[in-house]
């Protein structure tokens, strides 16, 4: 699947420090992903997005739907941003302190796209 509005965004994420993988769950529930690290295979990132989709659904049930989510792990973090059309993007990043600025820039572009 290549003809979706976020292809360029996925490709661009490779240029940001600390980004290991990224993905988008479109408003029609289609999932597109891109991995830049062997330990983050694309098949797993797709599963991750499905899991995050369930988490987002549950958060709405608990009346805690956030426009941004951050899942912090020992060696990395998962950042999620949701658009008004309900599409959401995920960035898997390592704990490199330099990654933070790139995340903001990428999510700003995702929201506008």
């Amino acid at each position: 699947m290549t003809d979706h509005p976020f292809q360029g965004w996925l490709e661009k994420a490779a240029n940001y420090p600390g980004v290991l993988a990224c993905g988008v769950c479109l408003s029609n529930q289609a999932i597109v992903v891109k991995s830049f690290a062997e330990s983050f295979p694309e098949a797993r990132i797709k599963e991750l997005l499905q899991s995050l989709s369930e988490v987002a659904f549950n958060l709405r049930y608990y009346q805690l739907a956030g426009s941004r989510l951050r899942w912090v792990f020992e060696h990395g973090q998962l950042h999620v941003a949701r658009r008004a059309d309900s599409a959401f993007a995920v960035l898997a990043v390592n704990n490199d302190p330099g990654a933070a600025a790139g995340i903001e820039e990428l999510f700003a572009e995702f929201i506008k796209a």
Binding site: A37, V55, W71, V72, F73, E74
Partner: protein
């Protein structure tokens, strides 16, 4: 010798240690270093199982016990529990090849003074002895240790959950600090020239150091008046946010490091105020241990459990991420932080107040 005779300087006493490990090669290696290469040399007793260890303790005075976790019949954690019941003042170090989060939590809750991994031996066996010496020297009324596998936040949580009163004295590489805990509440912190929550945040950002848990004394003033769960999570979050500044200290040297203190203080002042709206602490079994302004505590506890299970799923899916620490739900004017530990889960919701509020 009469009371007026000048006393010759005494050599420092030898440490008496009991090593309990079912691996004879490891015992031989440790013994060799402690007997041959330490000055003064240590008196080393060894045991390959719990039975020999208990017999040895009956016959010999010992300053320190070092236990392996994985042993047959009675493992090191069971032996730790037994020893702390019968000899609470005897410092016990857990030294094992594999230290899981569960084992670490269990050992700390059951009185281990220190938890070390055998893998540290691979990077230099001598690095382990200062930690053992410090632990063996510990006074009865407190204990000393090195911050290695044991995080300062873990120790503080244990002190607070146990509703204890103590003063945690922390020695970092460049400055010293203290955290005062009264009846399970953090009431004061000081570090270098900082006080209160700023000092606590800086102390919790230390990557290593030495600590001593001393009996409680009243501080000159009380600078912290908040819920410890929220304080610790705020500090953890602040640590994440400020890690980006650390390379500037290294690159700029000490002068830049001194400047960072004021930058951090200024950044703190520029941040909008945050108000805690609700707190829930739940156990591994999802019992609510503590709640504050939480009308939907049961629902929050269910959410925490769901997030913990989802986290375990993500860890299996992407093992390179390591274990889960927390989940944050972020809105422009609010933030919910879910701390996800196997033995307890904490939910804190904060409002971020605009200056006009």
């Amino acid at each position: 010798m009469s009371a007026t005779d000048p006393s010759p300087a005494r050599p420092p006493p030898s440490r008496r240690i009991l090593l309990v490990d079912d691996d004879p090669e490891f015992i031989a290696l440790m013994k060799d270093h402690l007997v041959q290469k330490r000055d003064p040399s240590w008196i080393v007793h060894t045991a390959v199982n719990y039975s020999e260890a208990l017999d040895c303790l009956k016959l010999n005075p010992v300053d320190l016990v070092v236990l392996d976790i994985q042993m047959p019949v009675m493992d090191g954690l069971q032996l730790l529990t037994l020893l702390k019941r019968t000899r609470p003042a005897l410092p016990v170090v857990v030294l094992s090849g594999v230290v899981t989060q569960e084992n670490r939590d269990y050992a700390l809750q059951h009185g281990a003074a220190l938890i070390l991994q055998k893998t540290e031996l691979a990077t230099g066996i001598d690095t382990i002895y200062p930690a053992l010496e410090a632990t063996a020297e510990a006074p009865v009324e407190g204990f000393k240790g090195m911050l290695r596998q044991v995080g300062l936040i873990d120790l503080l949580q244990l002190e607070c959950l146990g509703r204890k009163s103590s003063v945690m004295e922390i020695k970092g590489s460049n400055a010293d600090g203290r955290i005062y805990i009264s009846d399970g509440s953090i009431i004061h912190a000081e570090f270098d020239c900082l006080f209160g929550e700023k000092a606590l945040a800086r102390l919790l950002r230390l990557k290593g150091g030495e600590f001593r848990l001393a009996p409680f004394t009243q501080p000159g003033r009380q600078t912290i008046d908040g819920h410890w769960e929220a304080l610790l999570m705020e500090a953890a979050q602040s640590s994440d946010e400020q890690e980006g500044e650390a390379p500037a200290v290294q690159a700029g040297g000490e002068a830049a490091g001194a400047g960072l203190e004021s930058q951090a203080a200024a950044a703190q002042q520029e941040r909008p105020d945050r108000r805690i709206e609700e707190i829930i602490v739940s156990s591994a079994a999802n019992d609510i241990l503590y709640q504050w302004k939480a009308p939907e505590a049961e629902r929050r506890a269910r959410l925490l459990n769901l997030l913990l299970m989802k986290s375990a799923g993500v860890c299996k899916m992407l093992p390179a991420l390591g274990r889960a620490d927390r989940f944050e739900i972020i809105e422009p004017r609010s933030r919910a932080i879910c701390l996800l530990q196997p033995d307890r889960k904490i939910f804190v919701r904060l409002s971020i107040l605009a200056p006009a509020d």
